[in-house]
Amino acid sequence: MNAFVNVLRSAYVKQLRMRSGLYYTVGFYCIILVCWGAIWWAAIGASGGTIHGYSYERIYWYIAGTEAAVVCVSSRRIEAIGDDIAAGMIEVEMLRPASVVTIRIARQTGESFACLTFVAIAALVMGVLYTHEVPDPVTVAFAIPALMLAVACNAIALYVFASLAFWIRDARAAWFLFQKCIFLPGGMLLPVQLMPHALRSVVWFLPFWTMAYAPGRLVAGFHEPILLVGQCVWLVVLFGLARMVFAFGERRVQAGVV
C-alpha cells in the first residue's frame, strides 16, 4: 500500500512539474465543451426546454463533468501498454519486488489526477461562463470524489482491457472499442436516461458508467450519493480483475509463450 501511495504521489507531482502537455489537454477539453455546448443548446431548444429532466444548464454541467473525467485518461494508452507487453517491458518490471500492474496503475492514476486538477478548473470556468451558474457546495462535495473515482476506475480498466495483448497481438486499434464503450454505455455524450430502455438495463452491469455518467450526473447537480457507492464497488472489482488478468499474463511471459 505504501508503494502504491508513494508512486501515485510522485507521479502526480512529476506531472504537475512537466505540465506543458496538460495545457494541450485543457485546450482540447475547452474545444469539446464549445462544440457540445452548441449541440445541446440546439437540441434542448428543439425539445422545448428540457429533455428527461435536463435543462440546458444541467446538460452543460453534465457534459463538463463527463468530459473532465474522460479526457484525463487517454484510451490510447491501451495501445502503448500493448506495445510494452510485446516489447518485453513487463518482463523487466517483473524483476522488481512489487506488483507490475499495481505500480503502473498508481503511476497512471497519479498522472491523471494531475491532469484532472487543471481540467477541473477549466470545467468550472467554462461552466460558469456558459450557464451563468455557480455549483452549490453540496454539488461540489459530491463532484470532486466522483471525478477522482471516475479517473481511477478508467485508469484501472485500461489495464484490464490492455492485458488482452498477452494473448492477442494483432489488435492495435482495440482502444477505439474501449473508448466507444465509455462514449455510449458509459454515458459520456448522452445521459443514460436518453438511451433506449433495453440499453439502460444493461448499462448498470458494465463498469463504464462509473467513468463518465456518475461524475457527469453529480456535477450536473443531481444529488445521488448511491452513484459514489457504485463507483467504489466497481473500483474494487476492476482492481481485482486487473491484478488477476495481469497475473495470468505474467505467467505466460514466464513460460515464454508471449
Binding site: G27, A38, I39, S47, I51, A173, K180, L184, L194
Partner: protein
C-alpha cells in the same frame, strides 16, 4: 511519378503483410464509426429533428467525414505526422532521395485502421443513403476535395514546426479541433464559430459544404469548395517548401 506510386504501393504492401491485424483493425474502426450513428439515432429519438437535421442527413454527413478522413489519414498517414517527422530526424532520410520530399513523405505510410473509415463511409453512403448515380459521382468528387482540404490544413500546421520549432502541439490541437468541429452539423454552431469553420479552421470545407453539395448541388458551392481546396493545398506546399530552406538536420537517421 512512377517512383512515388511505387513507394505508395510498398506502403500498402507493408500494411497488408499482416493480414489478420489489418482485417481486425478495419473491423474495429467500422464498429467505432457505427457508434456515432447509434449516438445520433438515440439523440434524434429524444429530440426529433434539430435545426433541420435528421438522421438521414447525418448519414450523408458521416459518409463524407468517413471517406475524407480515411483518404487523408488512412491513405496518407504522414499527413498528421509532419511535426513528428521534422522533430525526430526522419526528414533527413527523405531529403536525400531524388523525389519530391513532401509527396514522398505523404505516400510513405498507410494506416490500416483508418482505411476502415473508407469502408464504413462507402458502406453507409450506398446502403443507408441509396444515392442516384449523379449523387454518387458528386459524393466521390467532394469527398476527395474535402480530404485534400483536411490533409493540406494539417500539412500546413505541421510545416510550421520547420519555421518556428516546437514539438508540434499546434498540429495536434489543429487536428483535434478540425476533427471535432467537422464531425457535427454546421447549423448547430453560432455565427462566430461558423465564420471560423469557413476560414482559419476549414472544417466546413471538409464536411458541411461537401454534404450540402450532395443534397443540393449548386455551382457556387462547388466553386467555393474548389477555391478552398486549391488555396489550402498551395498554402501547405509553400509553407513546407519555405520551411525546408530553414531546416537544419537533427543528425538522426531513421525512416519516415
Amino acid at each position: 511519378m512512377r517512383v512515388i506510386l511505387a513507394v505508395w504501393a510498398a506502403s500498402f504492401r507493408e500494411v497488408f503483410a499482416k493480414r489478420r491485424a489489418f482485417y481486425i483493425d478495419v473491423s474495429i474502426m467500422i464498429i467505432n464509426d457505427l457508434t456515432w450513428i447509434v449516438l445520433w439515432t438515440f439523440l434524434f429519438n429524444n429530440t426529433g429533428s434539430i435545426r433541420g437535421w435528421n438522421i438521414d442527413r447525418i448519414y450523408v454527413l458521416f459518409s463524407v467525414i468517413a471517406v475524407s478522413f480515411g483518404i487523408s489519414f488512412g491513405l496518407f498517414r504522414n499527413t498528421r505526422r509532419i511535426s513528428e517527422i521534422v522533430n525526430d530526424g526522419s526528414l533527413d532520410a527523405a531529403l536525400t532521395l531524388p523525389v519530391d520530399t513532401l509527396t514522398y513523405l505523404l505516400v510513405r505510410r498507410v494506416s490500416a485502421p483508418v482505411v476502415g473509415d473508407i469502408v464504413f463511409g462507402l458502406g453507409l453512403f450506398f446502403i443507408a443513403v441509396r444515392p442516384s448515380p449523379v449523387e454518387a459521382l458528386i459524393f466521390f468528387a467532394v469527398s476527395i476535395l474535402g480530404a485534400i482540404v483536411m490533409g493540406s490544413f494539417l500539412v500546413l500546421l505541421g510545416s510550421l514546426t520547420l519555421h518556428f520549432g516546437g514539438k508540434g502541439e499546434q498540429s495536434d490541437l489543429g487536428f483535434e479541433a478540425i476533427n471535432i468541429f467537422s464531425f457535427y452539423p454546421i447549423d448547430m454552431f453560432g455565427g462566430p464559430t461558423k465564420v471560423m469553420l469557413f476560414t482559419v479552421l476549414p472544417g466546413a470545407f471538409v464536411t458541411a459544404v461537401p454534404a450540402e453539395l450532395i443534397e443540393h448541388f449548386t455551382v457556387s458551392s462547388l466553386g467555393l469548395l474548389l477555391f478552398a481546396t486549391v488555396f489550402f493545398a498551395i498554402t501547405a506546399r509553400v509553407t513546407f517548401t519555405t520551411g525546408l530552406k530553414k531546416y537544419r538536420s537533427g543528425s538522426r537517421w531513421t525512416t519516415a
